[in-house]
């Protein structure tokens, strides 16, 4: 009984406390660089698309709001033919970013996504792709992977021996 009255009193006293609310549109809050807002697709340090269309973001997405189609350039470099995020379904959980093996998909501190028409919340690759590396500079998946692409032959990735010569008789 006493505790009830005490808590009523304590809550009542909160009347005189300062308010924590940030008056958002008039007053912009600070959002950390790793804040989970609008999703973008970044480029590698060479300026090429980072996304390799592995579908891991799509499968990690709990609301299934990412879809894409993989394709390859003539030299074997894989990239998404199209890439679509339905932001009207996105819950900004960041699981796609965690799943991404190439740092391609990243969440940004932009949260102002309001639209009057839901259809405008469907973002295609041209709306998603940015010019830079985003939060993770320096990493280039294709320098680590073992597959061959246009300007990288077999054995030229990081920590790779030159390709084995099948014709030699030397042990």
């Amino acid at each position: 009984m006493w505790s009830i009255i005490r808590s009523l009193w304590l809550v009542l006293l909160h009347m005189f406390w300062p308010r924590f609310t940030v008056q958002y549109p008039d007053q912009k809050p600070y959002l950390a660089p790793r804040y989970r807002g609008r999703i973008i697709l970044s480029r590698d340090p060479d300026g090429e698309e980072r996304c390799v269309a592995c579908y891991l973001c799509a499968v990690a997405c709990p609301v299934d709001c990412i879809s894409l189609q993989a394709t390859e350039d003539p030299h074997g470099r894989r990239y998404p033919e199209w890439f679509r995020i339905n932001f009207s379904r996105c819950i900004f959980c960041g699981l796609c970013e965690e799943a991404c093996p190439t740092y391609a998909i990243q969440l940004t501190p932009d949260i102002e996504l309001g639209e009057y028409n839901r259809q405008n919340l469907v973002y295609e690759k041209e709306n998603l792709l940015i010019g830079g590396t985003g939060k993770y500079p320096g990493y280039n998946f294709w320098r680590v992977a073992g597959v061959q692409i246009e300007d990288k032959d077999k054995g030229q990735s990081e920590r790779e021996a030159p390709p084995a010569d099948l014709r030699t008789l030397l042990p």
């Binding site: 808590s7 009523l8 304590l10 009542l12 308010r19």
Partner: protein, 318 residues
């Protein structure tokens, strides 16, 4: 003025005021809760966010009036109307001031008890018609909770009735010329307050709704204006109970200096705010705790209160 016309004016004024107040309560509750939780609450629409209610009303009117295909359609539509009707009818007997009272009967309190018992039907029928497990659970809770608490609600008021010697609310107020009944009937007041919270299904006794366990309890399937009617019905209930508390225990319109209508409004408003404070501060009990308090503590206490008051009245009357 023609007495009939006057009555109609009074009815219209009370209806207008009560409905508007209960709508405004939505705003008041959100602002007060925010205040006690160090926030602002709705402050964008209109001055102090006052027009938030209007925005909400517009929204709720334009929502799809959805009736689930598995629901019992007619009962489903009818249920929210019952709560509005019963609560609004009860206002007919509340003496806001000697002038502002729709009807004066000598069984006003019994009328109130009867109406609030009928209100249970709204909840139970809504729950049943929804044809949904969560709704049904909520409905069962509502039925048993309101039944249990109604028992001692009636008993807790009997003290004041004995002191005033009448079931008429006007007579009860007039009997408090010298002393508010809250002093001789403090126990009765506390019991009535608790029962009133339970009767209006307000926190901490909102177990029929219990959104953390039953989705939204009895009104899980309701949306649009039908949900709005439950919502408004709940606030009407709050206004009603607050007004009754002022009438029964705090001398109604009686008070110095200010005109009677201001007194009754102030007193009622105070208890409305108290209801909101309860919501801000209290956690919800378990259902079995609720039931055991009701039957094992509050009912015996109200019986004791009745017996003691009776004994005192008898002793004094002799």
């Amino acid at each position: 003025m023609n007495p009939t016309l006057l009555k109609i004016v009074v009815i219209l004024v009370i209806l207008l005021v009560v409905l508007n107040v209960s709508a405004l309560l939505i705003w008041l509750e959100r602002r007060l809760l925010a205040l006690w939780q160090d926030r602002y609450g709705p402050n964008r629409v209109g001055p102090f966010g006052l027009l938030q209610v209007v925005a909400d009303m517009i929204k709720i009117f334009f929502k799809e009036d959805w009736i689930p295909p598995f629901a019992d359609k007619w009962v489903f539509v009818f249920a929210p109307a019952i709560i509005m009707i019963t609560v609004l009818l009860t206002f007919a007997v509340i003496p806001f001031t000697p002038l502002f009272q729709i009807t004066e009967t000598n069984i006003a309190l019994l009328f109130f008890l009867g109406m609030s018992s009928l209100g249970v039907y709204s909840i139970v029928l809504a729950a049943w018609a929804s044809n949904n497990k969560y709704s049904l659970l909520g409905g069962m809770r509502a039925a048993s909770q309101m039944l249990s608490y109604e028992v001692f609600m009636g008993l807790s008021m009997m003290g004041t009735v004995m002191l005033a010697g009448s079931f008429s609310l006007r007579r009860i107020v007039e009997a408090q010329q010298h002393i508010w009944f809250v002093i001789p009937q403090f126990l009765g007041f506390v019991l009535f307050l608790i029962a009133g919270i339970a009767e209006t299904r307000r926190l901490p006794f909102d177990l029929p709704e219990a959104e953390s366990e039953l989705v939204a309890g009895f009104h899980s399937e309701y949306s649009g204006m039908k949900f709005g009617m439950f919502f408004v019905g709940e606030y009407l209930g709050v206004v009603l109970i607050s007004a009754l508390i002022s009438v029964l225990f705090f001398g109604g319109w009686l008070g110095p200096v200010l005109p009677p209508v201001v007194w009754i409004v102030l007193k009622t408003l105070f208890f409305i705010c108290f209801f909101i404070l309860l919501r801000a501060a209290m956690p919800r009990p378990r259902f079995d705790q609720l039931m055991s308090w009701g039957w094992k503590w509050l009912l015996p206490l109200s019986l004791a209160n009745l017996a003691i008051t009776g004994a005192v009245v008898l002793a004094r009357g002799r």
